[in-house]
Symmetry: C2
DNA sequence: ATGTATGCAAACCATTTGCAATGAC
DNA sequence: GTCATTGCAAATGGTTTGCATACAT
């Protein structure tokens, strides 16, 4: 082990090992340095079951007694996005969210335009459609499908408010 | 005519008339006031052929000698989004963009993750499948599909840089 | 040894907020 | 007359930047 990045960040074994390899390869390829911070951040990200934002990530790292500056967090997330390991979601009401790319590709996002809640939905047909798309003069890397609408809670609330 | 919102904002006739009606209906329904500013902003929006951001909109209104405060601009765009007349895009590199909803629904967005350029692409199959989606406990209103990747320019540049 | 990456604090800037004045109803 | 909407200016807060220090190579 070239450096001791593995602190007491609770870790999701398999997922992380795989991504660590990808990341290492990417960093080498781009001649970027393999720092303790970068790997600790990636490891921490693996512990989120789904979306997360800067605040949550920062907090989780602090909780694990691993301190990084916000500047480094922003830098590292950018590297991870460029490397294709994570995906960035910018949705209306909510703050910028990130998600492991391997997770993001498997579903679309149902976004409530009232309360901002995000639900995930898998659909094989759509996935196939997107995968089968023929695009010229553009090299697709990944996609994100957002369907905006009303979640059941907000719809119910709205119906009551508008008189039965 | 209840008020003189029609200044010298250059106008795209048909498109605006139709949207004006929708907007009027929406405002009445929600018991919101029909102000000169709101209609002037909508009219101005109709003159953009595609995406636009706050700056461009503000500028275009100023150019037409119609001054609104930024607070009003933000308020009005929110009302227009809620009313389903325009759609909000928040993409990585670029600033928040808006687009007439009637335009947005007809295409997906190819976003270059390098330079941020947006290209539009229509695909009938995909459109049909999204429209035909069956979702429980969620009422879809509209969707947005973003495909991230490399535009031809950036790809070319990258290939040259990485040695032939 | 070299130059990239980090940490900190200050700077930035799009968006939001507070409040008095306006005007739609 | 009432209360939503506007304008202005100040406040906010997530993100970026500058620079000295640390450290991967």
């Amino acid at each position: 082990m070239p450096f001791a990045w593995s602190r007491n960040v609770k870790m999701d074994g398999k997922k992380y090992i795989e991504l660590q390899n990808l990341f290492t390869k990417y960093l080498a390829e781009k001649k970027l340095r393999k720092t303790e911070e970068r790997f600790a951040i990636l490891e921490c990200i693996c512990n989120f079951p789904g979306h997360f934002d800067m605040c949550q990530l920062y907090q989780k790292l602090e909780d694990a007694n691993f301190h990084v500056s916000r500047a480094t967090l922003y830098n590292t997330l950018e590297v991870l996005v460029d490397g294709g390991l994570i995906v960035r979601h910018q949705l209306p009401t909510q703050s910028v969210q990130y998600e492991l790319r391997s997770l993001a590709e498997t579903h679309m996002h149902l976004v409530c335009s009232k309360c901002g809640a995000i639900r995930e939905l898998k659909d094989a047909t759509l996935r196939r459609d997107v995968a089968g798309l023929k695009v010229t003069r553009f090299t697709p890397e990944y996609y994100a499908l957002y369907i905006y609408g009303l979640c059941s809670k907000c719809k119910y609330r709205l119906q009551r408010k508008n008189g039965k």
